[in-house]
Symmetry: C2
Subunit: 122 residues, 2 copies
């Protein structure tokens, strides 16, 4: 029998500019599921998928799609910015990202990325 | 300051009819996120939302929507069957359900529901 698969999940919490921020990362075989929240919500749910072409060794482009919640241009920019490095580190796996932040500043984004790194499940 | 929110998550594993089965339940304030998998995948992602009308004390109807994966009639039936009791127990909260089962038999469904009950986060 194959070794028993376990679904790995890690969490981090931090206060950023006065906002309590939670990060949850869970590894599934086809997606890495990441929730970034300052409201305790899943929030806007976005899939970020690399457009891989066989034989192409360059950095892939990413397609983002809002599955739940408001579909705003900034959401796509933010989602790709946050998810790209995880996808690249995990062998170009697709990311499923839940986003509900009060504060979308560059400082918050940087801290949130560090929190994601501390929750590495890939 | 309000008490620090924590995102609660529970997992269960069991072999059903020879298939290793994982259940992950995570509580967000706006959704209960449940993954049922025999492949380690998120699989088909379905939102199940109660159609609540104010002043209506009867059991609500549910609307299911496939967000990711194949949109098949049986998926909606299965998703509603699995998610309805969780939603009802949690004060009619919407459910976000990831489904990737090899075996959709009634016996598996019953066992899976018991596994969900053992992962109660609501």
């Amino acid at each position: 029998m194959a070794p028993q698969p376990v679904i790995r999940s890690k969490q981090a919490e931090k206060t950023i500019n006065g906002n309590q921020t939670q990060v949850v990362c869970t590894e599934f075989s086809n997606y890495i599921f990441i929730v970034l929240t300052q409201y305790g919500k899943i929030g806007t749910l976005v899939s970020i998928t690399p457009d891989t072409r066989s034989g192409d060794i360059s950095v892939p482009m990413y397609t983002s799609k809002v599955l739940l919640g408001k579909d705003e241009p900034l959401t796509h920019v933010y989602a790709k910015n946050v998810a790209t490095f995880v996808s690249q580190e995990s062998g170009n796996r697709p990311i499923l990202l839940g986003l509900s932040l009060k504060d979308n500043s560059a400082e918050t984004m940087k801290t949130v990325k560090d929190m994601i790194k501390s929750c590495q499940v890939w």
